[in-house]
């Protein structure tokens, strides 16, 4: 049986969540009434064992294992929960905060390592792109036309009267420098190492 020792264990997790830079100033997690409306519209809940309402409950009850729960990685970041929650709460935002906590702990890095190529592309070109490692399976799923598109994209853009989408050298330097100083570069390296 679980016992709650009032005052002895002050609830930390929810406070940490609210302190996070991603947390909106009016994030209403304390007001959650566990009505499940978020879950009722959640594609993640429909297709997987993820349950945003229960995730909120666990945060409110200071259940730190929620950070390690694989299910938090099933959120679609669609914010449908946010658009209906009658209590001003935002499960989507909380989910993203928990994922960052998991990444900070190290565990979560494994979950995102396959997306690292997006970061490389960003540093190189100043624009992101779907990580190249998914490319083969995409071509397989979508068809060879997708490969052609990738090969011909510059020509097509020219036909459409559009210029290059890659940033000029100097702009890329600015972006790279920002990402270096913001700590992103290190973060990316760390993530890549966790393979």
């Amino acid at each position: 049986m679980k016992t709650i020792k009032l005052k002895k264990e002050s609830v930390q997790l929810v406070k940490e969540v609210l302190k996070d830079i991603k947390a909106s100033p009016d994030l209403g997690i304390y007001k959650c009434v566990q009505c499940g409306m978020c879950t009722s519209v959640c594609p993640g809940a429909k297709e997987t064992d993820y349950d945003p309402r229960d995730m909120i409950r666990r945060v409110l009850e200071d259940d730190e294992t929620v950070v390690d729960d694989d299910n938090i990685w099933n959120c679609f970041s669609c914010y449908t929960c946010n658009s209906v929650c009658p209590c001003g709460n935002n499960a989507s935002e909380i989910n993203q905060i928990l994922r960052q906590m998991s990444i900070d702990k190290g565990e979560g890095m494994k979950k995102i390592v396959s997306f690292a190529a997006y970061g490389d592309s960003f540093m190189e070109l100043g624009v992101g792109s779907i990580p190249s490692n998914f490319f083969d399976v995409m071509v397989k799923d979508i068809g060879p036309g997708y490969m052609d598109l990738k090969i011909n994209i510059e020509d097509i853009r020219t036909d459409l009267g559009l210029g290059s989408y890659i940033l000029p050298e100097k702009a890329i330097d600015e972006v790279e420098s920002i990402l270096d100083n913001s700590g992103f570069k290190d973060r990316l390296e760390k993530i890549k190492r966790c393979k």
Binding site: G28, V33, G36, M37, T39, S40, V41, A45, R53, P86
Partner: protein
């Protein structure tokens, strides 16, 4: 500000009697009475053991008569305790020619040191002497309220209020917008009775009340009418009531219905929640009161067919509307509610399918006088539904745009009622209520248990969507208790929609100048102790116009409103005359005072700015607004305030510190409590009672500093309607100090509360310390 010289002379000539009370040692043990006596400059100075006794009265009265006294100062206990007593004792003088110096609660009991206590006593007595010189004879305000009332809204609340008023002999006019009275209650069909665990017929309960209202000689029912304009004049209301032409002469119509038979225009019948049709000439329902037909102006084509068949010649298509003026003593707002606009929550698919209905629509369907004569049939195909799913809190308890943050209070009970009725008559129909919390306080819990034992199923979760496919609905939610996303199939979905303030509530409140809550319900003066009074004196509220509530609570509130009106009429309350008075020669009718007054006491009548003495609290906020110095507060004139300050600082010694504390009545009582509890207070503190901090102006503060005050405290109770202005003003006052090279830290503002007198005592101590620090270089 200096009183002008002519007044100075007359003031000097006034004969003032000062009566010092020893209070059985309570005062004289600490205050050196000899010294006090010798420092008082007055025509008569008398000292007595207990002035409040009958013997004290004789001493005071004899002196007044023998010495021809003009004014009296009693230096004794707190005015809170005995001012009324001494006001009587100074008869034959006008009671308002008395001032009291509070030597007990605010001097001897808080100042154990004889020397400083005596000094303080001297300055308190001096202040009273100075102030009383400016006292004017006043008459208490006698409140007389006309013995009549208007009740706006003819639902159960309005009917109940009217009946209670009428039974107490008060002429009452019941104003209803619709062609019939009865409101929402006639539509709901059945009422739940937690005691009997049964449903009762709403119409059967309402009808006797309606009949009594119709028969009662003191009630005039005016249907098809609305309030158009309202003006308040010292306790009375002049109303303009507009009546829409019914186009049927009430006295002639025998309600045979021939006209409706021939009328070619069919429109949706709002009495049946638009689920059936009626004609353009109609009577909302069989038992409608008044029992006559009405032409719906919006839809009538003026074809005259009805006129042809009416054998009573009751139809007058040329009938014109009327505007009727009336004057009443009080008004009751009983304008009810409306139901939530489902366009705001499109995910529930209401309006897209006939078989998604509101609880009110279900009530009509199950009402014996409804579209299906009481049978539970689906609107789309007239079949009995096998699976009914109810969705709670639709639009209620919802912070999202368009939602209502509050709980609508009745919908849990309504859902249970309907579920019970369905289960009793259609045991094979499954009923599921999807809820977040079932709110069934008090006895209703028994009815809830009854529903559970009837087999009504409950699923805890707030549905996110209602979808339809091939005529079958899917309610999507999470069963939060089993942590399972669910889809429930249903063939009738019932939405428990929120109660919202009706348009009538918002309009009528606007016309009567009554404040609304954030949610646009009528705001009570105080939700706990004045639940039926509004911000406007003489206007009361009851029923759902004030917030969601059930029929029982509406009736209770209606009776309370009637009782309050009866108090006003029969009580003939006497009020203190400390209200604003206007110097008409200075007033330019700029209306600034009208805008600022939250008590809505000031208004312009016949081109003259008038203050309703019954509403005015004498708070003084208007004085700040008036650029023409046209306003004075009786009993708290500038002269009186200045004189009090002067008196308190008159004999200040060079090395002494004196702090003036302006406290409102709450703060003053709190300060008395400090004394009653014998808590020591710095000897520097001198208290002046002021109706509201809004009364204190820069000139008063600056004068006090000029006369030698070292610091000023202002204390006010934060839950008064004018408090919001107070805060701004303190900042303004501080700014004035800076301009005049006075350290703004010498002015402190505190919130005061009666029970937190210890806190106030601490503030006094802290402030006294701070002032001392400021003065030590």
């Amino acid at each position: 500000m200096n009183p002008d010289s002519s007044k100075d002379i007359s003031n000097k000539d006034l004969k003032i009697g000062v009566f010092l009370c020893r209070c059985g040692g309570n005062i004289s043990d600490t205050v050196d009475m000899e010294k006090l006596r010798s420092s008082v400059d007055a025509e008569v100075v008398e000292e007595f053991e207990n002035l409040c006794s009958i013997n004290g009265r004789k001493i005071i009265r004899d002196s007044i008569i023998q010495k021809n006294l003009d004014r009296v100062v009693v230096a004794a206990c707190s005015p809170i305790t005995h001012e009324k007593t001494f006001q009587k004792y100074i008869n034959p003088l006008n009671p308002y020619l008395l001032e009291m110096a509070n030597l007990r609660e605010q001097c001897s009991w808080v100042n154990p040191d004889v020397e400083t206590a005596t000094e303080k006593a001297i300055s308190l007595v001096n202040a009273s002497i100075e102030k009383v010189k400016y006292a004017q004879p006043l008459d208490p305000i006698l409140r007389k309220t006309t013995k009549s009332a208007a009740v706006i809204g003819g639902g159960i609340s309005g009917i109940s209020a009217s009946l209670s008023l009428a039974r107490q002999g008060i002429k009452t006019c019941l104003i209803e917008e619709q062609p019939t009275i009865g409101g929402a209650m006639v539509k709901v069909g059945k009422l739940f009775s937690p005691e009997k665990l049964a449903e009762e017929c709403a119409m059967c309960l309402l009808n006797p009340l309606v009949n009594e209202a119709v028969e009662h000689k003191n009630i005039k029912i005016m249907t098809n009418t609305t309030l158009k304009a309202a003006e308040r004049r010292s306790g009375n209301f002049h109303l303009l009531i507009e009546s829409k032409p019914r186009k049927v002469i009430e006295e002639k119509c025998i309600s045979c219905g021939k006209c409706a038979e021939v009328c070619p225009v069919e429109v949706k019948d709002s009495w049946n929640e638009d689920m059936t049709f009626r004609k353009a000439i109609y009577k909302p329902f069989a038992q409608a009161v008044p029992d006559v037909y009405t032409i719906d102006l919006e839809n009538c084509k003026n074809c005259g067919k009805c006129q042809e068949v009416c054998r009573m010649n009751a139809i007058d298509l040329d009938m014109e509307g009327e505007v009727i003026p009336m004057t009443v003593g009080s008004v009751v707002i009983a304008t009810g509610h409306k139901t939530f606009d489902m366009d705001k929550r499109p995910e529930y698919s209401y309006g897209r399918h006939d078989d998604i209905v509101t609880q009110m629509e279900l009530a009509r369907i199950m009402g014996v006088n409804g579209p299906t004569k009481g049978k539970l049939l689906k609107p789309s195909n007239n079949k009995i539904p096998e699976r009914v799913v109810m969705v709670q809190c639709v639009g209620s308890r919802d912070e999202k745009p368009g939602g209502r943050k509050y709980c609508s209070k009745v919908c849990c009970m309504v859902a249970i009622k309907h579920a019970n009725v369905i289960k009793q008559h259609y045991p094979d129909t499954d009923v599921i209520i999807c809820y977040t919390d079932m709110r069934t306080p008090g006895m209703y819990e028994k009815y809830f248990k009854y529903a559970q034992s009837n087999g009504v199923r409950l699923i805890r979760g707030r549905p996110g969507e209602v979808a339809e496919k091939d005529g079958i609905f899917t309610v999507r939610l999470e069963d939060t208790l089993s942590k399972e996303p669910l889809e429930i199939e249903a063939d009738l979905v019932v939405l428990s929609t929120a109660m919202e303030p009706s348009d009538g509530t918002i309009n009528v409140s606007g016309l009567l100048d009554v404040g609304l809550t954030e949610e646009l319900f009528v705001k009570e003066k105080h939700s706990k102790i004045k639940p039926v009074a509004t911000e406007v004196d003489g206007v009361y509220v009851c029923g759902t116009a004030q917030g969601p509530k059930d029929i029982t609570d509406s009736i209770v509130q209606a009776n309370a409103a009637a009782a309050k009106i009866s108090e006003l009429i029969n009580g003939g309350v006497e009020l203190e005359p400390f209200v604003a008075s206007i110097d008409q020669s200075k007033c330019t009718l700029c209306k600034k005072c009208i805008d600022i007054c939250k008590y809505k006491a000031a208004y312009i009548q016949d081109g003259i700015l008038t203050v309703d003495p019954i509403s005015c609290t004498g708070c003084g906020a208007c004085i700040w607004e008036c650029e023409n110095n046209a306003i004075e507060i009786m009993g708290q004139t500038d002269e009186q305030i200045i004189a009090t300050i002067d008196g308190m600082l008159k004999d200040k010694k060079p090395d002494e510190k004196r702090i003036i504390a302006f406290l409102d009545s709450v703060g003053y009582v709190s300060a008395d409590n400090i004394g009653i509890n014998k808590i020591t207070v710095p000897s520097s503190v001198r208290i002046i009672k002021i109706p509201s901090m809004n009364r204190i102006m820069p000139k008063h503060i600056l004068h006090a500093f000029k006369m030698g005050a070292d610091g000023i405290i202002m204390g006010e109770y934060p839950y008064n309607p004018m408090y919001s202005h107070t805060k701004e003003k303190i900042a303004g006052l501080k700014g004035e100090l800076v301009k005049n090279n006075i350290n703004p830290d010498r002015l402190a503002f505190y919130k005061v509360y009666i029970p937190y007198f210890r806190g106030l005592a601490n503030k006094f101590k802290e402030f006294d310390g701070e002032i001392k620090c400021l003065d030590t270089p």
